[in-house]
């Protein structure tokens, strides 16, 4: 039974449109600011994908257009990000705070941060954003610990990873 389910699931895989973004990708940049002891995070997703995600997941109407959003939009975005994106430093899950979002043509950017961060040489990242909607979603995460930048490519079945600097 499981085999059959997997097969059907795979039917969805070869998404190849020929203009749109046709491939599902998010890009997250995490930069450590030693002076402020903060991790500063930007996370870019495609607006269309994200709107579709919110609608399907929360069974409500969403309109991700600058200045035209429903009032409850922010609440659901914060909830979704909190559910899907997390960081562990020194084996402790850290609270990720939501600063705001910005529309960038076809992309939506979230600004997030983590406070009171001591210098680190190891970080665990979980990023399941949009993976619940798109089987072939890929989430690229760059982490700069103040010295070096390292990258994770997270996807379904492999949505968390550890970086050692």
């Amino acid at each position: 039974m499981l085999f059959r389910l997997l097969l059907i699931c795979l039917l969805l895989v070869p998404k190849t449109q020929h203009q749109g973004h046709k491939f599902y990708l998010s890009l997250t940049d995490i930069v450590y600011d030693q002076e402020e002891k903060r991790l500063k995070i930007t996370c870019d997703v495609f607006v269309d994908d994200f709107q579709q995600l919110l609608e399907k997941r929360y069974q409500k109407e969403f309109l991700l257009v600058e200045g035209e959003e429903y009032r409850y939009t922010k609440k659901y975005i914060k909830k979704y990000l909190a559910d899907k994106f997390s960081l562990r430093l020194k084996n402790v899950q850290r609270e990720i705070k939501y600063l705001g979002k910005e529309y960038r043509i076809d992309k939506l950017r979230f600004y997030l941060y983590v406070e009171n961060v001591e210098p680190f040489d190891k970080v665990a990242v979980t990023n399941k954003i949009l993976i619940d909607l798109f089987d072939d979603q890929k989430n690229m995460v760059h982490v700069n610990n103040g010295q070096k930048t390292k990258t994770l490519l997270l996807e379904k079945g492999r949505s968390n990873g550890v970086l050692n600097f």
Binding site: I8, C9, L10, L99
Partner: protein
Amino acid sequence: MNIRISLTLSLLMFFSLSFAQEGENKEKQQEEAKEGGHINKNKFRQLYQEFATPNQYRTASGAPGPNYYQNTADYEMDIILNEKDNVLNGFETITYTNNSPESLSYLWVQLDQNVRKKDSPAKKRNGSGMAPVMPPENFVSEYMKDEFDGGFNIASVTHDDTPLPYKINYTMMRVELPEPLETGDEFEFSIKWNYNVNNHVENRARSGYEHFDENDNNVYVIAQFFPRMAVYNDKEGWQNYQFWGSGEFALPFGNYEVNITVPSDHVLEATGKLQNRKDVFSDKMMKRYEQAQESYNEPVLIVNEEEAIENEKNKTNNTKTWEFKAEQVRDFAFATSRKFVYDMMAVDINGQRKMAVSLYPKEGNPLWGEWSTRVVASTLETYSKHTFTYPYHKAISVHAKNQGMEYPMICWNYGRPGPDGSYSDRVKFGMMSVIIHEIGHNFFPMIVNSDERQWGWMDEGLNTFAQYLAEQEFAKKYPEAIGGRDKYPSRRGEPEKIVGYMKGDQEYISPIMTNPEQVYQLGNNAYGKPATALNILRETVMGKELFDYAFKEYAQRWMFKHPTPEDFFRTMEDASAVDLDWFWRGWFYTTDYVDIGVKEVNEYVVTNTPTKEGKELLARYGITDPANNPRTANAVYVKKMEQDSTDVASKDPLENAPKLNEFLMDNFSEQERQNMEVPEYFYEITFNKPGGLVMPLIVEYEYEDGSSETVKYPVQVWRKNDQKVTKTLPSNKRIKSIVVDPNLETADIDKSNNQWPAEEEESDFDKFEDSKED
């Protein structure tokens, strides 16, 4: 006299400015002696190893050679759509002509629908897991329905009514010939087939139908729907790369005669010239069609929205057959539905009338009625300007949910307003861009017929580049389309937009010269990066005039032919006399990125006091007491300044260097001296290049008086040292700042080293946070 002055001046520059390099060269030589020899790794070496040897088929100039050939496939097809069961039935006769110098003992036919067979290996090629959460309707469609029974059912393959032996290997079918097909001969055979048409919204395919619950209707966009000949050529023999889903198609040219039978209340468009318009159009439609042919500014509705709404309410059991003929096309596709609104407008392309056409269900309005056909017309104009006059008589944009896919003369495009007809800018620009892109594909690869299966970038990259030009021109033609913006918001094309990709982890980046099935990020790899590379080539490396001529030459040389990457690379150089091997090597064959910075700036002022370095240098030429040596008594020297020092800089150099002053007084009249420029400052600037790509070095110098100038040093500055280059600059004004790539033309991935004096660049995060606090 003049000469001596300048000699002296250049001498003193030489003293101080060439020192650093001398020392370095020595060090370098010593190191190399230890290392032993090496092969030529210079970034400017020619691509002799990478490129195929030119031959009689493809010349070193990048043009088709004297023995260039291509085989052709002509089709006669009868197609019947069974709307009730969503089955497509076809009977086709293929005439295949072998123009190759070899004889062929079998033919390969492509069965692309087989990618949707239940046992298709394409479904198993990706790693995957279960979605932990799934929206209810997805769950139903994925787990509760039977797996879709797709793929071709081949009923017969015959030659003169005799069955031909054949073997199906997944998406390809080998047909055995009764006897080898010799050069110049043709072979005619027939295939009878059918397949279940899929719902393309559910399974995200390039073709199929979208279902509308209201009035239980479908919009069909049908492509890859018939067994198609594979390409046989001098590069690949038979194309033997299966259809896995990402790499698109390689198809020969041919002539088509196609009869399509659909319910009689459908409106249909397809590749080719409609042969029986009077039979399938109502009188009203005919009259409007005639008007449309004379309407060059406004689309004319052949079927308007009210008529389409009426039409979709009922269904008929009657059928109609639409007859099309197409010449010199590499494929055939059609769209059909009783839901279609249908409009057309004429567009003049170099004195020839072409028809810009749109088909859309009412769900696309008001956006589609307003823009689709205008976008089509404008795209044909821009592309024709940069390539060749669009050779077909029409170009059709069909609205299909989530689709963006191209075929000769016809394409499917997304962009749907909300249920109340409202739409955001994002939906609007998304729709305009996809129409420009897919209509643009008529040029690449429908006419300049590259092998998409092997090289996704050859059509997607070139097309996305031309799309950028067409978008920008469209906005100039229709300023109301972009509202208050100063230009069209193109998603791709501008160098800054590719930085995020190019600075990414090397593990997930592939060279452009990689098969589309093997890349990690197809959109950046086959579309974004090559499009940006060409844009940079045009605007920054070659200049528009040289680029445009060569690009057009490539398009015209390979119009209705099958080019390879080398044919493109070679033509661009051949037609412009710009050696670009370094550019192709770096941008197309590697994953290197651009990172150029300003590493060190030394400032010098003119002085007559012999400097330590000056003395040492002269000592090597046997001059030990330069002040009293007649050869050097009048020499002036330069003195290095500390960066923040102001004492010397504020003074007149002639005052500061009395020997130079005396020399000038003795040798020049007052008037001559007034016209003479004696530089006050000399700068020795070291630019470094942490990035692997060589690029022209673009530098903006800003002076203390507020003026500035931008200097472009050719890419060849890197030819002898790939890591750094030192430039000297005499100046009468003190330099306040130096910026590398001030206009963001090169996709430099790290701007933190682009400025002198170094300046902390505020991150996006900080900017956003600041703006929130304001």
